[in-house]
């Protein structure tokens, strides 16, 4: 029983295209954008800013285990990519507010899709990990 019909996905076509273009890292969105998404903090920060703009320390509280160093750096990357805008209020103790730009907001949909998949699949993934770690590699030895 076929687990899935071998349909030609758009991704497969995309991949052929990238390959044809020589995988130039500068022209490959996957490596330019996906690497950023997986930056351990950036995606989390985008989600943290999804609800409302937040100030620096507010973000720091929202994501407890990020250091100031990484928070600053991640926010700068986000700002550099135009996903987040930075608003400085010259109040007596200076306050800075970060908010998602329209571009940043446009990322929420796709990101939500992936996160939704992650949550739906998490149990299955954990089970697979447990099975794998238990030595159950479930490898098929096909006849030659």
């Amino acid at each position: 029983m076929p687990v899935a019909p071998p349909q030609k996905t758009p991704l497969a076509t995309q991949f052929d295209e990238w390959q044809a273009r020589g995988f130039d890292a500068n022209a490959c969105p996957v490596r330019n954008v996906l690497d950023r998404i997986g930056d351990k903090w950036t995606s989390l920060l985008i989600v943290a800013l999804a609800a409302k703009p937040r100030r620096f320390s507010e973000l720091h509280r929202a994501v407890p285990d990020i250091s100031k160093r990484m928070l600053t750096q991640s926010l700068r990357d986000l700002q550099r990519d135009g996903l987040v805008t930075r608003h400085v209020f010259p109040t007596k103790p200076p306050s800075v507010e970060y908010r998602l730009s329209p571009l940043g907001q446009s990322a929420l949909g796709p990101l939500a899709g992936l996160i939704d998949w992650a949550e739906r699949s998490f149990a299955e993934i954990k089970a697979a990990r447990a099975a794998f770690d238990a030595g159950d590699t479930s490898e098929q030895m096909s006849a030659a």
Copy 2:
């Protein structure tokens, strides 16, 4: 002028939930799954396997700038998470085929969504980077 209506996204709700649960890394899909997606190679390999199952060296050719070491490791991670299955054919020169599991195939949709966003936004992101690097921080100095 408001750049975007402050609508309550599902992501925002999700975030509050994670926060309430103390951001336990072991229970947080974002950090467990997204980190893997951003693994620099895994997402690329998933896409490479989207079209059809491939053998080890076939993958190596498909993704030119990955080392054997990283290819092996990435494939093992993928296999461990149950996204990829490994089929060994005991032929004379041994050949091994990797293919997406149903779980792995279920990731293609969300992943395609993100990649689609990346391609659509790539020009804008590059422009933002160029502007930022040119010193145009475009920071708003709001009145106190």
